[in-house]
Symmetry: C2
Subunit: 151 residues, 2 copies
């Protein structure tokens, strides 16, 4: 939970101008990991009053390409963002309700970053998604028989 000043430093460190929308968005992403764009817009507006959705999209793009946030797009749901970057952790995603949890890399420090054969590709990231049913959902619909609906 970085303070407003921490966030300011983060922005400056990434050569980004410090603006109120940026501080608010980055703060929102820190406070609500895995939030989708819509929730972020809502949180930011609670904080600042009216902010155009356009601005939020712009800011999220800027932060993403500066590497301050990471964008994740699990199948069939809108983009989500998280501020935990740099460490390479993975995600548990519930097929039913879409809940997302962080998990540390199963294999080790420099984890799964190496496919068995790289075919000449220059790999820079390994993204792992564990598809699952979260405890609540597996209680509700015990056997994910047939086809799990994860739209």
């Amino acid at each position: 939970m970085p303070t407003a000043t921490d966030i300011e430093h983060l922005l400056r460190g990434a050569d980004l101008r410090v603006t109120r929308p940026r501080v608010a968005v980055l703060g929102a992403v820190h406070d609500h990991p895995h939030a989708d764009t819509d929730s972020i817009i809502r949180v930011v507006r609670e904080d600042l009053g009216e902010v155009s959705h356009q601005a939020v999209y712009d800011v999220l793009r800027a932060l993403t390409s500066a590497g301050l946030v990471r964008r994740i797009q699990p199948s069939g749901s809108a983009s989500r963002y998280e501020a935990r970057v740099g460490d390479n952790h993975h995600h548990l995603v519930c097929r039913s309700c879409g809940a997302i949890e962080d998990v540390d890399c199963a294999v080790g420090a420099t984890p799964c970053l190496e496919p068995s054969e790289d075919l000449g590709f220059a790999v820079d990231e390994a993204e792992v998604i564990y598809w699952a049913l979260c405890p609540e959902c597996s209680a509700r619909e015990p056997a994910p028989s047939g086809s799990p609906r994860h739209q």
Copy 2:
């Protein structure tokens, strides 16, 4: 490359009615691994003449939930489908051109299907994507400086 009859058997084996669109779609997925929905529609139409996009979407959904094809959705690109199912292999995806290659699981037979801590989630699949630059693209734009555009 299964023949039309093979495909028919596959469909029947999965308790699916054998219709011309289904045969064509399943054939197309076999012939064009990692094709997106649009390309599949195009291929199917070359084969059968007019087919509604709706039908193709329906068929792909049916095939996916029957387990005859697998749906993959790398962040920021449309759904793609492949007919190689059952073995759990992973994908190399080029950030620049979107090319996809199969790679076998790096870790072993029952591979990455276990996060370090599962938080009570019932994991049924681990999806691994290696983000990379393919040989052609890394020749073209040597240093992927700044933010790779992979929209």
